[in-house]
């Protein structure tokens, strides 16, 4: 869109809809850029009916709209095919219903994760989302990006605890599915399709959740191993035992170094991070693989974990096993756990050309996959870091020191190779973060899959005219 047209669109929008106060300011518009494409205007609706009205207008005017909240994950997905207006949901930040005694919650999509967590914490409850960008992310954004977390081990993902949603389709129709109660099979689960849809199907306006009690006691354990295979074997032993920890994270030596070398500024993380990651727990200079485990529940449950994890670690030839005593005193302030949740963000901020793979794998395939990616990165001389979540998810980050053409060339070859190895091992890989030059060369969603045709049918139902986030999703949806 040329400047003149953009200005007139911005004016037209500001007459009809609630534009952001700074909508005409080029600096403000720049902060809404997606892959260097700048929108002509920002609309900040007050409620779902305004979202509907705006999307009907957008459909009639054939505008391309990208919904957003905290704008922390706009880099996910392929570069947009078109982008005219940013639909900023951050004003829709009300908690609409919270019944702590029923453990149910209904919120607008623009509610901030941090603010909501505080409200829930006052009732000793929480949502097991533990997403990256926790200080700025909104609930709508977390769900649209299907942000993952170490807690999936114990609680599952949002598809397991979102009870229903209200949303507005690409044609501006206000709609809903699911409900507000913890058990319900009335009608199609359309909202499941919205989780992870990256704003390509509908604009989420309300989400109903099941909430969870905060466990009375939480303890953190770190076991260290000589190599990846030993670390993973330990995780698998835990999975086979009767123990049920809240999280099990396998951290590569490079990832441990990355997490412990964090600058205090600009990450939004607690400043005592490096203290928590002291030499006793995860030596920054070690070549060891760490397995971080969180056990939670009644005191007797946590103590049983402490005993049996230690003996499992011994049997699995752990080099070291330690309980993070600091974390016992203030478990919710654990910098180590915060750093693990924030791993994608920390990796992204550590390199201008950070290329981060999110790979879903069956547990038995994980060590081979991690080792291959590591060997590949070492051969290509690209710095790297990996964490593997025992829920079946690997974050593998390639973190080059420069972002020049040759580096992108290297990254492109490495990416093709990673997609190939993942497919061979029955894993499903995607790139969650990459420099634009790489995204133009490599499909971030990985090789096409046979279910794509069904996905394009789903897209047509929700957004036949292609108003919402065109081009960003799988197969160019």
């Amino acid at each position: 869109m040329n400047t003149g047209a953009a200005t007139s669109l911005a004016e037209k929008l500001s007459q009809r809809f609630t534009a952001a106060p700074s909508s005409g300011d080029p600096g403000a518009l720049a902060s809404y850029e997606v892959d260097c494409v700048r929108p002509a205007a920002i609309v900040q609706p007050a409620d779902a009916s305004e979202v509907g009205e705006f999307l009907r207008f957008a459909a009639a005017e054939k505008l391309a709209v990208i919904p957003c909240g905290g704008r922390t994950k706009l880099g996910i997905g392929a570069p947009p095919a078109r982008y005219d207006v940013a639909l900023d949901l951050s004003r829709m930040n009300r908690i609409l219903a919270y019944d702590p005694r029923d453990l149910t919650l209904g919120v607008e999509a623009g509610v901030g994760y941090r603010a909501l967590s505080e409200v829930l914490a006052a009732e000793r409850q929480f949502l097991p989302l533990a997403p990256p960008f926790a200080d700025r992310a909104t609930l709508g954004g977390i769900l649209a990006a299907d942000s993952t977390s170490p807690l999936r081990q114990a609680y599952g993902g949002p598809r397991d605890f979102v009870l229903g949603m209200e949303f507005v389709t690409g044609s501006g129709a206000q709609s809903k599915s699911g409900g507000r109660v913890v058990k319900n099979v009335t009608g199609y689960d359309l909202h499941k399709a919205l989780i992870g849809s990256l704003g390509t199907l509908a604009v989420i306006t309300r989400v109903n959740f099941k909430t969870f009690p905060v466990p009375p006691i939480r303890a953190i354990f770190v076991a260290e191993f000589a190599d990846c295979a030993a670390a993973h074997a330990f995780s698998m032993e835990i999975a086979k035992s009767p123990l049920g920890p809240q999280m099990i994270e396998e951290v590569s030596p490079e990832a441990a170094r990355l997490l412990s070398s964090l600058p205090e500024q600009g990450t939004g993380l607690a400043s005592n991070l490096s203290k928590a990651l002291d030499e006793r727990v995860c030596s920054p200079f070690t070549e060891r693989w760490s397995v971080v485990i969180v056990a939670a529940g009644h005191e007797s449950v946590v103590e049983r974990h402490a005993r049996e994890l230690r003996s499992l670690a011994d049997r699995s030839k752990a080099v070291q096993f330690a309980r993070d005593e600091a974390a016992t005193e203030e478990p919710n302030q654990s910098a180590l756990i915060a750093a693990l949740c924030e791993f994608p963000r920390i990796a992204q901020q550590s390199s201008a050309a950070a290329t981060i793979f999110r790979i879903a794998a069956i547990p038995t395939a994980m060590p081979a996959l991690v080792e291959s990616i590591r060997a590949l990165a070492q051969r290509s001389e690209i710095p790297h870091a990996t964490i593997a979540r025992s829920s079946g998810l690997i974050y593998a980050a390639l973190l080059p020191t420069s972002d020049d053409g040759a580096t992108v060339e290297h990254l492109a070859r490495a990416s093709d190779e990673i997609f190939r190895v993942a497919a061979e091992l029955g894993a499903r890989a995607r790139i969650e973060s990459a420099p634009l030059a790489l995204k133009r060369r490599v499909s971030v969603w990985g090789p096409p899959h046979e279910d794509f045709e069904l996905m394009s049918r789903v897209k047509k139902v929700f957004d036949a005219a292609g108003v919402l986030s065109p081009g960003r999703f799988v197969g160019g949806i």
């Binding site: 702590p100 709609s175 058990k183 199907l201 009767p242 499903r428």
Partner: protein, 478 residues
Amino acid sequence: MNPHLIRELTDLLGRDAVLSSAEDLMLYEYDGSVEQAQPDCVVFPRARDHVAGIVRLAAKYKVPLVGRGAGTGLSGGALTREGGVLTVFSRMNHILEIDAENRRAVVEPGVVNLDLSRAVDHLGLYYAPDPSSQKSCTIGGNVSENAGGPHTLAYGVTTNHVTGLEVVLPDGQIFRMGGKTAETPGYDLTGLFVGSEGTFALITEIIVKLSRKPEAVKTLLAVFDVIDDAPETVADLTGRAITPAACEMLDGWTLRAIEDFVHAGFPRDSAAVLLIEIEGLAEAVEAQAAQVIEICNLHHAREVRLARDARERDLLWKGRKNAFGAVGRLSPSYYVQDGVIPRTKLPAALKRIGEIGEKYGFQIGNIFHAGDGNLHPIILFDQRDHAQFERAVAASGEIMRHCVESGGALTGEHGVGMEKNELMPLMFSEADLDLMRQMRAAFNPDGRLNPGKLFPLGKSCGEIRVMPAGIASRIVAS
């Protein structure tokens, strides 16, 4: 039915896999709901290619097509409401793969729910969703209806345990979605297809999660002298964030009916009992049991009895799971409802159900999944008396309306099917339903797959005053 279609189906499947005589078809005009609708032809595929072939023939002859597992469904989902070909999956009952280390099984749709748990029992694993009919219902049917069960309180319903599907669309195309991995890039098609009540596709393969069997189990029976104390206890347990694996309530009238039939050990002179099961790590079970007992006592439980061994536990559960059979002995007809309310509103809802029973002159029994607010009121009446029958239908409608008005849902686990399709406007606007209809059309464009289900058939009725024929004819004659 067109003899050419029968011949082509016979050529495809063999003579022993096609039924079309009147006496054979009669056996397939019912399901668990005892709604009635006769198919024109029943076929038994043995493989995916058979299913694809059946689907293509149904398309060629433009006849309706409905999938069916064991036919235990309670909302008429497996009935051929508009006739056509009924595809019964009972011969596609193979467990194709058990991957214990990765906690997955790949099964054909006709595998019986409990058979899967038995097949992995020696590995210390089981399949968690446990509908009351789990001895006979199939996993394919469970997936279509997104079935629940008592233990879904802690472990979730079917959709929480399915990671991948292979389906055949009504045009004969075969697609695989999801997989063994915890997630796959793109839209969550698996999540969309589970619970689509057989209106999107026929399912030919399912990838399910296997769960580790709990180390310890405690089953408690809390006995109350005042009925209101039982729902208050449940509300308090929820409010204090204590989540047992199962929490079932039986009112006095129902537990007496069960005692007469099963002798499960429910005290006949009590006003209500809660059947509470706690599972997990031994230490966690100990701690939680102590909390549960404390809260039951706080709400004036006369006694809280602990099942001493597996035999006592099984007996208590036998009582719970045979409740409908027990009630069936007492009344010429009964009608089991399925609605959901927020747990905090449980005491009020039971009062309301009692009032509705009084208003219409019925005994209404209550036996249900209290922990997740999933009510199953049972209305006893005599179907031969037309006026009574009309009143039963009206009472049932009032109960459902109360559920929705309390912020609840029309069905917690039985599905909409042809039982509640006309009630959908109580919960969803015309725009909501239109979008759902469009989703159905995306996969099932001419609506030949399981027609007459889920959506209201009379488009113009703004408010529903009379229950549709679907519900009325579902009322069980015993």
